[in-house]
Symmetry: C2
Subunit: 183 residues, 2 copies
DNA sequence: GTGCAAAAGCTAATGCTTTGCTTTAGTTGA
DNA sequence: TCAACTAAAGCAAAGCATTAGCTTTTGCAC
């Protein structure tokens, strides 16, 4: 039986908060389950039972931090919207903390559900941009096309080839997609 | 000072072998540093000092296993070569063991060098295919284009969206790239 | 308000990890 | 070839994360 309210929710909130605080204060490396438990006012066994281990807990917290806080900015046309979004996405994800969150999210994720959530966040944002373009009467590519041609190359490089990544590369991906005759 | 030969090399080899044997015998989850050390005929502190922790050791071993063993098959033309390679790449990487190796390689990789090596392996294979095509007089895209339009989308889905991945998707990516007027 | 069950607390035992010191063995130069 | 030097491995004890069994709390349903 799932118990979303009451003590369970309080414990979850205080543990997440403890992770964020300690991460900010002492850095990612210093985190341990007993340390987080002490800050959260909880016994370590509670964390082990609910999350399994430190990695799964960090994965949960990382996914929360990767959730976009606002819909993408409306700049008036599809190309501008997509380019601005791609640049911002790259900037956030390629930054040292962004990279750490992505790694953590993938890391403690036995069934892939957290990774799926990250991908869904990006798809949602893209979908908003594309829907706006369609409302304006613009021709717009499919969400999947944007995922394959913009999001995937950015994420691949962030994970596998940390060097030579800049805003121009993101713009080029968007331009390449929008220039394709077959959208 | 680096000492590539002698005892260091023997220890490295026997530790790697121990990881592979135990992984096959008892499964990935059962691995611990003391267990690997015992099998390798080494003290645990040796492993901790050389690799830091279990994850970094597994990352090293995983990269070895992701190294391609043979150059890609020559089927006579670029489209066939690339499609066959993409399908095989997907099959290997998306399989449960393949996914485990990718995760391990990314996971215990503080500086990103192991991830870079994985990416370089794929780029090398692609490069062989493209060079063969050029030799035949075919027009061929740049390696970077193949990485962005074929490898990246495959890897992105393997990592972030494990469902809905099949050979047809890989073929579609290759076809989409080769159909592009601007290569 | 009573009963049930999920989740948290507590505690002791286990064993992974770290660390300081010693020993082994590969490398260099006479 | 031998001796000095030093990187790397062995050893052992201390520290601490993790697990597991049991008890207690607390949310939920009747």
């Amino acid at each position: 039986m799932v118990r979303p309210g009451g003590r369970s929710a309080r414990v979850q909130a205080s543990v997440h908060a403890a992770v964020r605080e300690l991460e900010a204060e002492q850095g990612r490396e210093a985190l341990t389950v007993p340390l987080v438990a002490a800050r959260a006012g909880v016994t370590p066994s509670t964390i082990y039972r609910r999350w399994g281990d430190l990695q799964e807990l960090l994965s949960d917290v990382a996914v929360e931090r990767l959730r976009p806080e606002a819909p993408p900015e409306d700049r008036g046309d599809l190309a501008s919207d997509l380019q601005a979004w791609a640049e911002q996405f790259l900037e956030e994800m390629a930054s040292p903390p962004g990279r750490a969150y992505i790694r953590d999210a993938l890391l403690g994720d036995p069934d892939g559900s957290n990774a799926g959530r990250c991908s869904a966040y990006a798809a949602e944002q893209v979908d908003v941009i594309l829907a706006r373009a369609v409302d304006r009467g613009e021709r717009a590519p499919e969400v999947e096309a944007v995922m394959d041609r913009v999001v995937a190359p950015l994420m691949y490089r962030i994970l596998f080839r940390p060097d030579r990544l800049d805003a121009a590369f993101a713009r080029g991906l968007v331009a390449g997609l929008l220039d394709s005759p077959v959208r």
